[in-house]
């Protein structure tokens, strides 16, 4: 239901496409991050985006602002403090009982109104279910450009946002511009950008914005929220050690070797996209562009060829170890350590090796 990116225009033709920005958009300034705040918690992706937004704002020589909405005014002020310590100069706070739970309608209205009032040139949102639900509506209302699932953001020589994302099912990358409208909107998946270091004591300005919302006007009602059990799938993106399997495992049963190694290492496990398509594992275990992006300290890829869509999901790992029988597999182009071997045979040996090392030391200790 979406459109594939247009083919790249021939070199030099972009100048012709990039018309003068209409006068009404020239006052649009500053970089914004929409901060997801639900059930009393900030979604970590929002802090990651503040880190990235800081870089963009510095390059543009403008301010970085957070925008947050919710019901609990005190909680929202605590969010603002957190945002300041992660790089924000100011935070727009909208407190209203109607905003207690996320609903598309009131949140779209609030964010649209904030944008129209304070006019940011760049607006970043997490590519979460909430962020995507919201961004699609707001961009359509504002009739502006929105680029989904960016993996890299830059400011070009004309002060425009250059948003790079995988395309064609993740087989290539493309760089997308929003030409003649503002704000330039983009969503970024959790863990694609690094969490910026906290700067304790760093402060900023809070700007309270009042909205006139009436519950009677909002036709969508929240009946119930059933929180996920604290299962590992929520933590895969944030695990320190991840072991994943690909088609090189040959059969779904062999995923047990992936799980066994992950267990011994106290990490989490996942797999490449084909395993989901073949029904070997649930979609929430998928690692890569269309699944989870991970930034572990150690990533072990077993029998994964390393297509671009997988690569962009794991490149943030500190150490990538790849096991593949094909010495020309693309995964060896970005892994740090490579083993040309059958993962089905090597995984149990690795599990044994780690188990021995860790248990021997436990006895000794």
């Amino acid at each position: 239901m979406t459109t594939p990116p247009k083919p790249a225009p021939a070199a030099g033709s972009r100048a012709g496409m990039k018309k003068e920005l209409p006068e009404r958009f020239k006052s649009y300034q500053h970089v914004w991050v929409f901060i997801e705040y639900e059930h009393g918690e900030i979604n970590p992706v929002s802090l990651e985006l503040l880190g990235e937004g800081r870089k963009l704002a510095d390059k543009l020589g403008v301010e970085l602002a957070g925008a947050v909405a919710g019901a609990n005014r005190e909680g929202l002020h605590a969010v603002a403090v957190e945002a300041f310590e992660h790089g924000a100069d100011l935070v727009y706070v909208v407190a209203d009982p109607i905003l207690e739970h996320y609903r598309n309608e009131p949140f779209s209205q609030v964010l649209t109104e904030l944008v129209n009032t304070y006019k940011p040139e760049v607006l970043l949102l997490g590519a979460t279910v909430l962020g995507r639900d919201l961004a699609g509506s707001v961009a359509t209302t504002l009739l502006t450009g929105l680029t989904a699932d960016c993996t890299e953001l830059e400011i070009d020589d004309d002060r425009c946002l250059a948003a790079t994302r995988p395309t064609f099912g993740g087989s290539l990358l493309c760089t997308i511009f929003t030409l003649n409208t503002r704000p330039q909107m983009a969503t970024i998946r959790p863990r694609v950008m690094a969490l910026p270091p906290r700067q304790p004591g760093r402060t900023g300005r809070i700007i309270e914005h009042k909205v006139s919302l009436r519950e009677d006007d909002i036709v969508t009602k929240v009946l119930r929220f059933v929180a996920d059990r604290d299962s590992s799938k929520a933590q895969l993106a944030y695990a320190d050690i991840v072991v994943a399997g690909g088609l090189g495992l040959r059969s779904p049963e062999n995923l047990q070797h992936v799980r066994a190694l992950a267990t011994v290492l106290g990490g989490d496990w996942g797999g490449s996209r084909p395993l989901v398509q073949k029904g070997w594992m649930p979609a929430d275990r998928q690692i890569g562009q269309t699944g989870k992006t991970i930034r572990p300290k150690l990533y072990i890829a077993a029998g994964i060829s390393g297509a671009i869509q997988h690569r962009v999901g794991v490149e943030g790992a500190d150490l990538i170890v790849a096991i593949n029988t094909d010495p020309r597999a693309p995964i060896f182009d970005f892994a740090h350590l490579g083993i040309v071997a059958d993962a089905v045979e090597l995984l149990p040996a690795l599990t044994d090796a780690f188990r021995k090392r860790l248990s021997v030391n436990r006895l000794a200790g």
Binding site: L143, A148, K297, L298, I331, A349
Partner: protein, 284 residues
């Protein structure tokens, strides 16, 4: 009740290959399929129709060959297929696509009755943006229900619908008023096989083909490249890292030896990791 399901014909991405020298997509011989996520939307629509009666209209925008996707949908059990095709739509980004599709849904409503529900898949496998569904909802003023896992209740008389949707950290149960736009989550149902009569009907059914004018679209500046605020500046393959992976010697070595070697190198590269693992193993 009238339900519109928006689908897209996409290249089977599992079979896409990139030319190693020119970095262009080699499209020749790549088969096309209905975007797999859209099938969950189609099945849910058919189930609702079977339960309460009515019609399912399937809508797609694309080149003339996208008719195949509609015929497949008819073979699965949809009542009507509408193909929106015009060279003015070429180069549409998600905003321009949602404009054209919203206009077509409006026209479908005028022609066969206003739909109570518009369905889409949660996203496509080629664009992966998940933006067009919300775009259509906003343009038509439909109540937006994304990532729906289950339809818990439908009351046509009261004009209400209740759903369970995937939210951050849990499942959100919502009720709203019709008409609504639903983007269906994957894995929520299993697409049926078409019955023999449906498959036979699909083969000779007439597909409704609309160009922009036939769909009632007059503002051509909102279509295609001109109606798209975003532009793709360049398409490229990622640059390989300067150094390839350091290879562990495997020739004539038993797996145990290789495994030990790999473990030592992991710890050598990440000394802090070993200490952490030992702490965890020791039961801290």
């Amino acid at each position: 009740m009238h339900i519109v399901v928006c689908i897209k014909q996409v290249p089977d991405s599992a079979q896409i290959r990139v030319h190693p020298v020119t970095n262009t997509i080699m499209r020749q011989g790549v088969p096309t399929i209905i975007n797999p996520y859209d099938l969950f939307a189609l099945e849910e629509a058919l189930r609702l129709r079977d339960k309460v009666g009515g019609e399912v209209t399937v809508l797609t925008m694309g080149p003339p060959m996208a008719e195949d996707a509609l015929r497949k949908a008819l073979g699965i059990g949809a009542n009507r297929g509408v193909l929106l095709t015009d060279r003015f739509f070429a180069g549409s980004d998600t905003l321009a696509t949602s404009f054209a599709l919203a206009q077509a849904v409006r026209k479908i409503g005028e022609t066969w009755g206003a739909p109570e529900i518009v369905f889409t898949g949660k996203q496509t496998i080629d664009g992966d943006t998940a933006q067009v569904g919300p775009g259509i909802a906003r343009r038509l003023g439909l109540n937006q229900l994304t990532y729906v896992a289950a339809i818990n209740g439908l009351d046509l008389e009261a004009g209400t619908i209740a759903v369970a949707r995937r939210a951050e950290g849990g499942v959100q149960e919502l009720s709203t008023k019709l008409p609504a736009l639903i983007t269906m989550l994957e894995g929520t149902n299993e697409i049926r096989r078409g019955t023999v009569p449906d498959v036979l009907r699909a083969a000779r059914a007439e597909i409704v083909v609309w160009n922009a004018a036939a769909a009632g679209i007059t503002e051509m500046t909102l279509c295609g490249l001109r109606g798209s605020p975003t532009v793709v500046k360049r398409v490229f393959a990622p640059t390989p890292r300067a150094t390839k992976a350091e290879q562990v010697e495997v020739k004539d070595r038993p797996f145990e030896t290789i495994a030990d070697d790999v473990m030592e190198r992991i710890f050598a590269a990440q000394p802090a990791l070993e200490a952490e693992l030992l702490r965890t193993a020791a039961g801290y």
